[in-house]
Symmetry: C2
Subunit: 430 residues, 2 copies
């Protein structure tokens, strides 16, 4: 099934503002609550959300093998289970329906009334039920920065790092979408010089600039996915803020890894941009030396994506400051390598599983992907436009991650994931 | 809602063999496939499985607020969501229906025909859809053994261990129930003396003798569960074998914890024994010194359970050898402390989440909960009845974990979780 949606010259009859992340070539998938309080699966062109459930009921997807209720659901899991061929058929059809020369929906006001919403009329939901969430640690620059700060600058990378796409399991239940505030966590920490741990609000709450990919049902328990087939099982990508409490993490993480330092919340952008839409932005990934073991060696062409990323901090009642600009292409380990590694032991991957990249730091200090690195462990301050400074994130700050691909002809973006950090929870007095 | 099911003198009209794990006082919950290929929720008395879906359709649960299809589901998640009061109403009613003096079902052959199955007629399924799986590390004896072997016998426990119920997130997708074989994993290891890692079958596959508890929806994101309320949110417990590949674990686990060494499979027993059924077996947990931080201090009575545990190894075409006997009561950290700690940062817990105890080792070498400890890192051999020996688990061995509570009046058991270890996966030649 060929991809027919990437022609940069294609125009749509929906108005698309200049520099929109969502031209007719994007066609992402999401879940939203409509003005009528109905949850539906949809896509987005420009500043319009499109109700795919309504489109399907009106017959616009006829001849495509879809169950009647495939878009009338509160998650994309079943649609993602349908597989790559179906995703392409549906995106090709959407591309046709909204082509500027196609009058079938364009000229049918009754249909448009039930299919089209402005973004202000809807409320985005978490797009998938995330069965399992895995976070990798695949930026060499990030791992090097952390190793330099906390261990030995001359041996910053641990011995396994260049051989393994190091990863660990995270918490699915606390993953939220954009515009859902999260609370500063309480927890145990061991302050420098103390002899016993103390309990209180985390003082070092941080963002982590990441992206994440979402899989379809990829394999049965016991059978690995070969690295050169892995990308077929990736539905798409989102922006990902892996909230972290650095002081809790430091005290708890030996020997079994981060736990409460991470699982109080992670935030994803609501529109899943498909791998097909990202094809024009494929780039090679960094050279890997030493050469990985054979099960991690990819033979097929370019393996990464040129995705511009940035993080803004917005203090309460203030304006945004962009504190870092990075790029997904810096990742040392590719998504295909991550997925092949994850399953080499037979671990099974299901529709809706989410896999985070790990913090995406670039080579220069203005491209680091966390406050931990930007403030170099709290040694430096990061200036904001309003004259204030930050070492970590403060109560009522809003952190916004944005991401987009761009070439001479076209821009394909992810929108944003925007999250306000609320103060710690106060139990009501009895 | 009082518990009315624990009277040890109560008798049932269903035949219950001597020493059965499933007297009328147990009333566990599970999911099974019937002889008619229907999946239903059920309970068990003696060697009979009872179709609760059929019982409900026949009106036996009238006056209890349950949806019509609550037992006609392929997981217990919705029933568990109904909460403790409903669990008790249903178990009290089941206790009544099967009371030896109650003729309503006993004397109705038409009803019995659709409600009762022998265990041979059904096939047990995974009882819950596990949204998130967390594994703790709460046996002081186990943590001490591991620390003694791999670090410093004089400082075997890491500094955080006595302050934190250390835990980490695991993989939900690869949790299977009893009688589902698992495959020896392939993976990367760094052999002693090697300079680069090698790839191949794990040579050190191990069981971990654990138990796990299953929660109901306990809190919303951002709000902790107080330690003295925590047990209200625990539905019940199962036996748990946390399969581990020690050689893969050793190479991969720094700094983010175990990953592929664990996520190839974990196995649970199919019947969830409710906390209510375990009440007669409450015992105090070990004294905690130093005293934990206040959010972990339980004020209410006994906090642990006296549950006898054992592990058998059955080589192919051979007989069983019990290689260890342990007890849940040895756990240093209690389930309530684990759940309070897990949520102190606001992490939300859902119906069907599974939380493992960590390996349950007792104080003596014949009570250690893993081959790693029983063979002391492979230094010793463990003799089996058929004259063979083991340091770790070999291909086609079956590992069986059993568990039960017993006092002068009654025995409440968990049945078993039995798992055969198959050789590594061989890809079909193209």
């Amino acid at each position: 099934m060929p991809i027919k949606t990437n022609d940069p010259n294609k125009k749509t009859w929906i108005p698309v503002p200049e520099n929109s992340d969502f031209p007719i070539q994007n066609i992402p998938f999401g879940v939203f609550l409509t003005r009528d309080d109905v949850i539906t699966i949809g896509t987005r062109i420009g500043n319009h959300a499109i109700d795919l459930g309504a489109l399907h009921q009106l017959g616009y997807f006829k001849d495509i093998p879809l169950t009647d209720d495939i878009f009338l659901q509160d998650t994309l899991n079943d649609f993602i289970s349908d597989g790559q061929k179906t995703w392409r058929l549906v995106r090709n059809r959407i591309s046709d329906i909204f082509d500027k020369d196609n009058g079938s929906l364009r000229d049918n006001d009754d249909h448009k009334k039930v299919v089209l919403f402005t973004m202000e009329e809807i409320e985005m939901q978490l797009p998938v039920l995330i069965g399992d969430y895995t976070d990798f640690y695949s930026s060499k620059e990030h791992a090097t920065n952390v190793g330099t700060m906390f261990r030995d600058p001359n041996n910053a990378l641990l011995p396994n790092w260049l051989h393994i796409p190091v990863g660990y399991h995270g918490r699915s239940s606390s993953i939220v979408t954009s515009d859902t505030p999260v609370r500063r966590p309480m927890g145990q920490t061991m302050p420098a010089g103390a002899e016993t741990p103390v309990f209180g609000p985390s003082k070092l709450v941080d963002f982590e600039l990441e992206m994440a990919f979402i899989t379809t049902d990829a394999n049965v328990l016991g059978e690995p996915i070969p690295v050169d087939e892995a990308e077929e099982y990736i539905f798409g990508m989102v922006l990902f803020n892996d909230w972290s409490a650095r002081d809790i993490q430091k005290w708890e993480y030996v020997p079994l890894g981060p736990f409460l330092a991470k699982n109080f919340a992670s935030s994803i952008s609501p529109w899943i941009v498909t791998m097909d839409a990202l094809q024009p932005f494929k780039v090679d990934s960094p050279a890997q030396d030493p050469k990985p073991l054979p099960y991690l060696v990819q033979e097929n062409g370019n393996k990464s994506y040129d995705i511009h990323l940035e993080v803004d901090i917005i203090p309460e009642n203030s304006t945004a400051t962009t504190v870092t600009k990075s790029n997904f292409k810096y990742m040392y380990w590719t998504m295909s390598q991550q997925l092949a590694h994850h399953t080499i032991n037979g671990c099974n991957v299901n529709s809706g599983d989410l896999m985070g990249s790990g913090t995406i730091s670039g080579p220069t200090p203005d491209s680091y992907g966390s406050m931990l690195e930007l403030s170099w462990g709290g040694k430096n301050t990061v200036p904001l436009n309003d004259g204030s400074t930050r070492k970590f994130i403060e109560d009522n700050d809003t952190v916004v991650i944005k991401g987009f691909c761009k070439n001479d002809a076209i821009r394909i973006g992810f929108g944003e994931v925007s999250t306000k950090l609320l103060p710690v929870f106060q139990a009501k007095k009895k």
